[in-house]
């Protein structure tokens, strides 16, 4: 069993007194390799974190593959590397890493939501490019309505922009048939077929809610 070969390190106390490595469960191979690195490079604990994670990730990747053969060979290569590199530079880390199968950088749990949002925005951008919108822009939006073939057209002034990743929304204020209307549009929604910035008004605010108390001519725009 692949997991049983991980057993020895967790049972035996590590030979050196480095507290850093007792905390992380590394295979024997990677531990010895990294310990030698510590003695040479004398990096601080901060610099060691990526190293530690890389070793852990490598051993984890191996366990995932679940093949003892593969683990055995990498263990040997790890231990072979370390003595030869005792006198080497810090770039020896990269050399030993190339020996192991290419692995992805560890993703911190706290970054996952940010990455998901970024991915979703990239996907939406390829379908429909979204221009840079700021409060004060006068904008034309074409939106697909349900059960309608023709796209609905909205032209108004952006009074606020709420940045929330994939659910970034803009609030458009305009006048239609004598009634002031404010609509919130999710910028990356697939129902929004086109956003075009027609012109811009100089404003000194991020949120233009004061337009609600102003005369309607400030938020009335003629649609061509």
């Amino acid at each position: 069993m692949a997991s049983s070969s991980l057993l020895p390190h967790s049972l035996l106390p590590l030979p050196t007194a480095s507290p850093l490595f007792t905390k992380s469960s590394l295979t024997i191979s990677s531990v010895s390799f990294s310990l030698n690195q510590i003695s040479i490079s004398r990096t601080g604990s901060v610099a060691l974190q990526p190293l530690v994670r890389r070793c852990r990730e490598s051993s984890f990747g191996i366990a995932r593959a679940g093949e003892t053969g593969e683990e055995g060979t990498t263990a040997e290569t790890g231990e072979d590397e370390s003595p030869s590199e005792t006198g080497g530079e810090e770039t020896s880390v990269a050399v030993a890493v190339e020996e192991k199968p290419p692995k992805k950088p560890i993703v911190k749990l706290g970054d996952i939501i940010g990455i998901l949002n970024k991915k979703a925005i990239e996907e939406a951008e390829t379908i429909k490019p979204v221009p840079d919108i700021r409060p004060g822009d006068i904008v034309e939006i074409k939106k697909q309505k349900a059960n309608r073939r023709r796209l609905a057209l909205y032209k108004g002034i952006v009074i606020s922009k709420h940045s929330a990743g994939i659910h970034t929304t803009i609030r458009i204020r305009f006048m239609t048939s004598g009634t002031p209307v404010e609509i919130v549009f999710p910028v990356y929604s697939p129902k929004i077929k086109e956003i075009k910035v027609v012109s811009h008004r100089d404003v000194r605010r991020a949120k233009l809610y004061y337009l609600r108390e102003k005369l309607p001519r400030f938020y009335t725009f003629k649609k061509k």
Partner: protein, 281 residues
Amino acid sequence: MGVVSIANHGLSVAVGAGLLQRKRSNSMVGVGIIAPSVLQMGSSRSRKGGMRGIEVVAMASFEAGIGVMGTKLGMMTYIEPEGKVVPVTVVGFREGNIVTQVKTSATDGYDAVQVGYRRVRDTKLTKPELGHLQKTGSIPMRHLQEFRLQSIDGFEPGQRLAIEEIFKEGDLVDVCGNSIGKGFQGGIKRWNFARGPMSHGSKSHRQLGSIGAGTTPGRVYKGKKMPGRMGGVKTKIRKLPVVKIDTDLRAILIKGALPGKPGNLLRITPAKIVGKNIPKN
């Protein structure tokens, strides 16, 4: 479907499908031949002095399938291709979800799979805990939870549970977790009581009002809703659809809100739906 024989009272009683029925149990209905002497047992795990047969654990209910443990990461929005906007909770997975023990009726009296989650430093676990994990040579893990199943075929100690194999997009799941603690709260927040008028001479705004009748019964009933500690308890949210599974990031997007704050431990199991997959005997 197994037949378990219980050595008790000197009687061997064969019970259909391996379970006893407790008198007031509303979990599994055990259909089988149950001798009256067995029914009168006060607890399903009674021991007669000197007569120690296999104790059959008849309490607790089964899971609809093996589940996993995860960490609540936060909420975001998922926009479906048709344009529908769905609020989702992102659940991440730390290193874990490894089977640490498989319990069988023969050895433990019930069938269950024990799963560990969240790798920690050796020094953070006690020696008994470490020893338990080293029995199967697994990494030191902080959380251990059992999933009681109908059949434990195909589970071995040391097996890593893959989320992609257990859940698919569109599946319904039940999620358990500790809810956010609200502290000591009054009747309005805790029990949705209505408050009294704020003016017109009213002297009772947020109080409970009456807590019972008069001389008869002359007491307050047990279970009367009153102020007390609210939240911070195990909560289960049922039948939430899995919106997306991201294999690269090892994350699941589940529609809706889940108990607790980001960082909370969650237990995700296939939803138990009446008529569909609630295990019957």
